[in-house]
Amino acid sequence: MSDLLSAQNLFKQFPGVRALDNVSLTVAHQELVAVIGENGAGKSTLMKILAGLQSPDRGQIHFEGQAVVLSGVQAAQSLGIALIHQELVLADNLDAAGNIFLGREPRRGIFIQREVMREKAQRLLDQLGAGFAATTPVSELSLGQRQMVEIAKALSLDAKLLIMDEPTSSLSMRETENLFRVIAGLRKAGLSILYISHRLGEVKHLADRVVALRDGRNAGGLSREEITHDAMVRLMVGRDLSGARPVEARPPGEVVLEVKSLRTQAFPAHEVSFQICRGEMVGLAGLVGAGRTEVLRALFGVEPPLAGEVQVAGKALLARHPEEALAAGLALVPEDRKALGVFLEESVQWNVALTTLKRDAKGGVLVNEKAGAALTEELGRQLRIKAASPDTLVGTLSGGNQQKVVLGKWLALAPKVLLLDEPTRGIDVGAKAEIYQLMEKLAAEGMAVLFASSELEEVLAISDRVLVMHEGRLSGELSRAEATEERIMELATGLSRSDLG
Amino acid sequence: PSSDGGSGKKPRVAYIGNAIAPFWTIAEKGARKAGAEYGVEVEVRMPQDGATDQKRMVEELLTRGVSGIAFSPADPKNQLDLMKTMAKQTHLITQDSDAPESPRLCFVGMDNYQAGRLCGKLIKEAMPDGGSVMFFVGRAGQLNAKERRQGCVDELLGRPEGERHDDPPDAEVKGEKYTVLGTRTDEVDFAKAKSNVQDTITRHPEIGCLVGLFSYNTPKIYEAVKEAGKFGKVKIVGFDEEDDTLRGIQEGNIYATVVQNPYQYGHESVRILAALAKGDKSVIPASKFVEVPAKAVKKGDVDAFWAELKKLVQ
C-alpha cells in the first residue's frame, strides 16, 4: 500500500521557538494516524503546514506520490486535504450552513445558491447527529455545537485526507460517540485521517498507528498492537508518570459554599441547589450546554444570577460583579483560558500580580513592584511554572503553564472556594497530572474545590463527590463510591434507570 | 512659496486675511503685484479657523521676521493684545476691518458697515415696493458678516446714519416696508450654502430678496433661484466680485453687488508697508484712514468693471 501523504524533514522556526525541527510523517491510504505530544510539541503547527495555512521553512511534502507545494488553504483543499481547527474560528454573523460552505459556496456564476447550500449543510449536520438546523445563526450555538459546525465543514470538503486537531475538546460523550461513528464511516469510504487529541482513551480506541512529537521533533511511534496508555505517555513526556491520587477519602469539613435555588440567566426556569464543604473536591458533570459554565459564572458574578441564595463561609453573597465574589473568597478559573484567564501580551509577573495589586499597594494606591516580584517568585516555585523569567510574555508559554499562571493569580488571594471550568481543556497529560496534584493539594489544605469537566475520566479520577447537570437542572448527586461512568451518563442525559433497561 | 535667506536683502512684509475665501485670493493678487512693484517680498496668510489660526500665524510670521504686517482682525475688540504685540515688533496696519483702539498705524479699506448700508440701498432699489429679505453667510459671527448685515438692516429699516444697532442674526426684524427674516449660515460648506437657499425658497415662496454676505453665497443663491425658475420674482443682491456674480448681473438675474475692491486692499496695504519698511512715514495720512471705497456694480457698469478687474488680476 503506497503512502497517501509523506512529509519529510520539515522545519519551522517562529521568533524564539523552533516549532518543528526535522519532523517527518507519513500517512497511508485509509489509515488513521494519531499524533500525540505535550502542549507546544508542534502538533498544530505540523497540521497547519499540511493544510496550507503556514509554509515550512524547509522540507518536502509528497501527496499521492507527487511533490507538492501547499501555498494556501485552497491549494491544500484542491488536493483533498481538509483541516478541523483546534481553535474554533467561525463567522458568527452567518448561519451554520454559511460557515460550513464558507469560501466554497455552491454558486451559479457569481451568485450564491442558498437553498442548495442549506440542504447540503443540513445533510452533513444530520449525519453527525447534531440536533440543530443548518439555518441557525452560529451566534446562537454553544461551544460544542460550534465544534460540530467545524467538523461538518471539514467533512463537506470530500477530502482524501482529513486532519482533526483536537476535535473532541469541547464535545460531550454522546457527541463524541457520534463523531466516532462518522469517523468509522469515513474510513470505510476510503479516507485517511490524522487525529490529534490529548485524550489518550480516544487515541487508543481509534488509532491504527501513533506518532509522537516532543519539542518539535519526532519522538517515535507505536503500532496498533503497541498502543497502551503508559506507552503513549512515555513517548510524549520521555518518562513514566506517577499514578493517580491516593484513593482514601478525606473527611469533609464544615460547609463553605451553600447554594440555594440559584437561577441563571440562561435557564431562568430552573433552580440549582447544592453545598460544598471545606477540603472537598466536587466534580460538576453534564453534557455540553447543560448549564455548568452558567452556574459557575453566576456564582462568580460574571453574569449575575437572576435569583437565589448563596452563602460563602456563612456570609450571604449574590455577586453582581467578580470583585464582590473575590472579596467573599471565591475564585474562578475560566473555560476560555486565552481570552479570559490570562493577558497574553503581558508578562508572567504582570499576570500573577494583577489580582493582588490592590492588597499589596503602597498606601492603598501605588503599585508595589517588589511585592509582585516576590509573589511571582514564590508561586512560580510552588506551581513549577516553566518560564524563562518573570518578564516572559505569557503568550509564549505552553497551555499547561498558562493554566498554572491563572491558578497562581488566584492562589495569591487564598480563596475559600476555587471554581474551575474545564481545568485541563487542551492540556497535555504531563501538565494535566500536575494540575490535578495542585488541586488535590489545595483541597488537602482546606480549600473547597468545584470543577466543571466534560472528561468523565477526569471527573471519576479526582472528585470526592459528583454533581450532574441536565438542561439547567441538577439531575443528581453521586458519592465517590456511587460514581461510575454509566451512572453519570444516565443522569446527564436525563434518562431514568428504567429507560436504560 | 518664497525661498528664505538668499533674497534676504528685500524686506519682507506680511498680509493676513481673516478666512480662506475668493475675496482674499483677489486681495493676494493685489498684494503680490504691489510687492513686485515696490521691491518687497510678500507673505500671504489666510486662516482656516478664524482667530485661533490668526494668532498662531502672526506669531510665526514675527518669528520668521517681517518688517510689516497688514492685518484683518477677525475679532478686533478681543485681539488687542495680539495687535499690541505686532505693533511692538513691527509695523502694523489694519485692512478690511479696523481696530481703532489698537496701536495700528493706519487702516486701509472701507467700513463693512458702510458697505452694508450701500447694500441696503441696493435692496431698496431692487424692491421698491418693499418685501422680505433673507441673508446667507458662511459664519454669522465673523465681524465682516456682522457689520455688513447690520448696515443692511439699519438701512432697510430706515434707521438714521450713525445709529448702529445690534440685532441678533437669526431674529426676524420688521420695518415699515421691509422685513428681515433672518440669516442662514453654512460654515463655508457650499452644498449647505445652496441647500439653505433652497429651503428658504420652500419655506418662504413669496420672499422678495435674497442677500449673499460672503462672496460665494451670491453665486449659490443664483444657482438655487435659477433651478427654482424664480428669476425675476426673487431679487438677488450680494457682496464681492465672483465671476458667477458678475455674470449674473450681466444677464440681469442678479440685481447688483457691493464690491469692496479687495485687489486694492492688497495693493495699497503692501505699498504702505513697503514704504514703511524703507523708513518712509509719509505714506500714513493724518486721518490714519486710507479709503478704498466700496461701490455698487449693477447691470449698467458691470462690463467696464469686469474688464478692469480682469486686467488687474492677470
Partner: protein
C-alpha cells in the same frame, strides 16, 4: 429587513410632522431638492458601508470629495482637458487612493483609522495646494455636464414631480452594491471577514484582496460623489469642500444598521439613514427652527436610534436565550 423598520418609521414620522408643519414640504420643488441631496450623500454613504462591513473605517471621504472636486474643476477650467478625460482621471484617482488605503491596511497592517486620518490631512492639503486655496468654478461652460447633478427627468406618471438625475445614479449604484453584497459570494465573504477575519482566511478566502476591494469601492464612491457635489454647487473651495462628510456618511451607515464592529449592515439601511439625516435638516430649515440646533437634533436622533437599537438587540438576545432549547 426588520432592522430597518424602526428607522423607516422614524423617517415617516419626521416627514408627516414636517408636512403638517409646512405643507410646502411636499411641493415638487422641495421634494426634488431633497431627493437630489439625499442621492448625493447616499452615494458616499453606500461607499463607506463596504468598509464598515469589513470592520474598518474611512475618515478620508470628505477630503476625497474635496480633492476630486478640485481636480475636476482644475483639469477642466485651468488645464483645458476634455470632459471624458477629466472624469476618467478623477475617478481613477479616487480608486487609486482607495487602493493605497487598502494596501497599507492589509499589507503593512496599519489601522484603518490611522491610514485614513492621514489621508484626510494629505488629500485636503494637496487640494488646497493645487489651486493655492483659490476657488474654482465651472462657470456656464459645463451646463451639459452639470445635468448629472441637477438634471430632472420628466416622467408622465409623476405629474408635476420630476425625477432628479442623481437619484437615478444612486439607484443604479446602490442596486449594484446591494446585489454585490447580498447575492454574490464576494459579498458573503465580505460579511464573513468583517466578523472574523481568521474564519474567512482559514476558509481559503483571500481576505486581503477583499479588504482592498472594499476600500477601493469606498473611495471610488466618494470620488463619484465628489464629482457630483462639485457639479451641483458649480464652484469648489478646496479648503472646505466636503469637510466632515465622512462623519455624515458614517452616521448614516450607523443609523442604517451597520455595526462598526463589522459584519453587519446593508445598502437599503444606509440610504434610509441618509434620507433621515437630510430630511431632518430640511425640516429644521423649512419649519424655521434655529439652524444652530440642526447639529443638536441630528446628534440626539442618532444617539437615540443607537440606544433603541441596542436595547432591542439586548431584549431579543434575552428572549432567544429563554426559548433556546439546550441540546444534548
Amino acid at each position: 429587513m426588520k432592522k430597518n423598520l424602526g428607522i423607516s418609521l422614524l423617517l415617516l414620522l419626521v416627514c408627516v410632522a414636517t408636512a403638517l408643519g409646512n405643507p410646502n414640504f411636499l411641493i415638487p420643488y422641495n421634494a426634488e431638492n431633497l431627493l437630489n441631496w439625499v442621492s448625493l450623500y447616499a452615494i458616499i454613504g453606500v461607499g463607506v458601508s463596504f468598509v464598515i462591513i469589513t470592520g474598518g473605517i474611512d475618515l478620508s471621504i470628505g477630503s476625497v470629495v474635496g480633492l476630486v472636486g478640485t481636480m475636476l474643476a482644475w483639469l477642466l477650467t485651468k488645464k483645458g482637458w476634455s470632459v471624458p478625460a477629466a472624469l476618467l482621471v478623477t475617478v481613477i484617482l479616487s480608486a487609486v487612493i482607495g487602493l493605497v488605503h487598502g494596501l497599507l491596511i492589509t499589507k503593512v497592517r496599519l489601522q484603518p483609522f490611522v491610514v485614513t486620518l492621514c489621508g484626510l490631512l494629505i488629500y485636503r492639503g494637496v487640494a488646497r495646494w493645487l489651486v493655492h486655496d483659490g476657488t474654482l468654478g465651472f462657470g456656464t461652460a459645463y451646463d451639459g455636464l452639470r445635468w448629472f447633478s441637477n438634471g430632472r427627468i420628466d416622467l408622465p406618471f409623476l405629474g408635476d414631480y420630476r425625477l432628479p438625475v442623481p437619484l437615478v445614479i444612486l439607484t443604479v449604484l446602490a442596486g449594484l452594491a446591494a446585489v454585490f453584497l447580498n447575492k454574490t459570494v464576494w459579498g458573503r465573504h465580505l460579511f464573513a471577514l468583517g466578523r472574523s477575519e481568521e474564519a474567512a482566511r482559514y476558509s481559503g478566502i483571500r481576505t486581503d484582496r477583499l479588504v482592498i476591494v472594499s476600500y477601493v469601492l469606498c473611495s471610488t464612491f466618494a470620488g463619484i460623489g465628489g464629482i457630483l457635489f462639485a457639479l451641483d454647487v458649480n464652484t469648489v473651495q478646496p479648503a472646505s469642500q466636503g469637510n466632515f462628510y465622512e462623519l455624515y456618511a458614517i452616521a448614516a451607515a450607523v443609523l442604517g444598521g451597520c455595526s462598526l464592529r463589522g459584519g453587519e449592515g446593508g445598502i437599503l439601511g444606509v440610504i434610509i439613514g441618509t434620507a433621515l439625516i437630510r430630511i431632518l435638516i430640511n425640516s429644521i430649515n423649512i419649519l424655521g427652527i434655529a439652524t444652530q440646533l440642526e447639529f443638536v437634533i441630528l446628534g440626539v436622533v442618532i444617539l437615540l436610534s443607537a440606544i433603541t437599537d441596542e436595547v432591542i438587540r439586548r431584549n431579543r438576545g434575552r428572549r432567544q436565550l429563554k426559548t433556546a432549547t439546550p441540546t444534548g
